[in-house]
């Protein structure tokens, strides 16, 4: 990897300063200048950035303000490749200046509260922003309530999740690099639904690719809370029983009890597993900002939305996108999906502001998984509005997975990445 953690943090803080200088307007002066309708978007990831871009692109008369706390966009898709040294942090890190060039106003700040009655978003530093429609796409937070051993920052540094790309990706890569040949890497996978269903199994392939190349005596133990591989099962098994045979010990139904970061032990309900590098992905829920706004409607975890418009079923005037949503039938929490949510949201927000009918949505999912540095495979689906069920449902006979992993699909996977990054950010 071409960038150390220290260099990376330096880079982040340097560009944070540059962005602050570039932002010539304060949120306060934005409110004073407000003439037409305004859409505020919280979160500049795959869902929120896409929604902001497409509202502005399809309705230039609407004022679009994007609130984002981080200086840069770091892609979760392809971040597993960084762990294996098959790509770099630079490759998956991008700016949001392209959205500014399209007329989206970017506020580098953190949304701290939503007041649906006043139609107002409060910020950590700047003055509150009023909105006609609010779009919230905050991603996920992790549930540590039942994992006392992982609550401290120190424990989380010893046992990273690396399930949000960034500093933890670098941390896990460093741990894998520092591990002795003959060591054991243990990955714990939460019960579905979680962000990116094939992601953990792709990670196993990437770490296996790295071990095979650099530390051939090492082993991987996969502790899966789920009863089986949740996505592309046969395809992943082909890799694990083919090029990575003997490297991977897969253990389904491995429910997590707690983690002891001092002894580097994962405690399961009936067993405990020690490792040299522990990588525990805790269960997720919609991020804090939506919980406090009363948008969580399902299992204290997810936000129920009307899939015709992406508007919250709990609070009018607020749309929720991406991984925070209570997924529609057979809908994965994926970058492709969040990007597509952004577009159906943009179309609906514009129609609702202008008093026009909302067209029934169609959304498509494409997820590639890299099984090495050179080969990839996909899962795809198309979801159409079902008037009877009042949701989007997968089209029968459409979608599917690759026949096998291939180099040509790795080329398409990189094409997918470059295009979704541009479609979301530029």
């Amino acid at each position: 990897m071409g960038l150390t953690r220290r260099e990376f943090l330096k880079l982040l803080s340097a560009s944070a300063g540059a962005s602050a200088l570039a932002a010539c307007e304060t949120p306060g002066s934005m409110d004073a200048a407000r003439a037409g309708p305004r859409v505020v978007v919280i979160g500049g990831g795959y869902g929120g950035a896409t929604a902001a871009k497409y509202v502005k692109m399809w309705a230039p008369d609407i004022d679009v303000v994007l609130v984002e706390r981080d200086a840069h966009f770091i892609s979760c898709p392809l971040s597993n490749l960084v762990l294996a040294g098959n790509t770099t942090m630079q490759e998956i890190t991008m700016g949001r200046e392209g959205l500014g060039a399209r007329g989206v106003r970017i506020v580098r700040d953190e949304a701290t509260a939503i007041d649906p009655a006043k139609r107002e978003v409060r910020l950590a530093r700047g003055a509150a922003l009023t909105y006609d429609r609010l779009v919230v796409s905050p991603g996920v937070d992790f549930i540590y309530d039942k994992l006392p051993g992982l609550r401290s920052t120190e424990a989380q540094q010893r046992v990273p999740h690396a399930w949000k790309a960034g500093a933890e990706t670098i941390l896990l890569r460093k741990q894998l690099e520092a591990m002795r040949d003959g060591g054991v890497y243990v990955l714990h996978i939460p019960i579905a639904p979680y962000r990116c269903p094939p992601g953990p199994y792709e990670r196993v392939c990437q770490v296996a690719d790295y071990f095979k190349r650099a530390k051939p005596k090492s082993k991987i133990i996969v502790l899966d809370s789920n009863p089986n591989i949740t996505s592309k099962e046969k395809l992943f098994r082909t890799e694990w029983e083919g090029p990575y045979k003997g490297l991977i010990d897969y253990r389904p139904n491995s429910e997590l009890d707690d983690v002891d970061s001092k002894t580097m032990t994962i405690k399961l309900t009936f067993d405990s597993v020690k490792g040299d590098v522990l990588n525990v992905v805790p269960p997720h829920r919609a991020a804090d900002i939506v919980r406090n706004a009363g948008l969580i409607t399902a299992n204290e975890r997810w936000c129920g939305i009307d899939w015709m418009t992406t508007e919250s079923v709990a609070v009018k005037g607020i749309h929720v996108l991406g991984d925070s949503t209570l997924s529609g039938p057979a809908m994965p929490k994926s970058a492709s999906m969040a990007n597509q949510h952004g577009k159906i949201c943009a179309a609906a927000v514009i129609a609702l502001i202008k008093g026009q009918p909302v067209a029934p949505p169609v959304i498509m999912n494409t997820c590639y998984s890299f099984v090495s540095g050179k080969a990839a495979m996909h899962v795809a689906s198309v979801h159409q509005w079902d008037a009877a069920q009042k949701t989007v449902t997968p089209v029968k006979g459409a979608g599917g997975v690759s026949d096998k992993s291939s180099e040509i699909e790795a080329t398409y996977a990189w094409g997918w990445a470059r295009n979704i990054w541009a479609d979301t950010l530029a």
Binding site: Y54, K343, V362, T366, A380, V382, N419, I420
Partner: protein
């Protein structure tokens, strides 16, 4: 979408001799939103970064429709497009083709690098 695009869409639909479903024909934003499902992989407005997968902007609508039908039947070999094509009905595929025909090919914008 620019107001001037709608007549262009109507014309291009007539030119390959199949009328699109009334609901889609009456709402120019419907074709745009349907085509936007393709933008994730094929680039915003069908202008693909580095041309992989191929750009769709400015393509002949009849050819695009024919290609999608061949993906559906399996006549045209594919890694993924046969699975995606089967998710859309004919009037949707025509509306998507009409939208891409109405867009000028351009070099794709790309995200800034820090």
């Amino acid at each position: 979408m620019k107001p001037s695009l709608f007549p262009a869409i109507a014309l291009s639909v007539v030119s390959f001799g199949v009328a699109i479903a009334p609901a889609l024909a009456q709402d120019p934003s419907a074709g745009r939103s349907l085509a936007a499902t393709c933008f994730t992989c094929h680039g915003t407005d069908g202008n693909s970064v580095q041309g992989v997968p191929p750009s769709l902007a400015g393509r002949n609508p009849a050819e695009l429709f024919q290609m999608m039908k061949e993906f559906q039947t399996g006549k045209r070999p594919a890694t993924i497009m046969h699975q995606q094509a089967r998710g859309y009905n004919d009037s949707q595929l025509q509306a998507i083709g009409a939208y891409f025909a109405s867009v000028k090919p351009a070099s794709a914008r790309q995200p800034s690098k820090p």
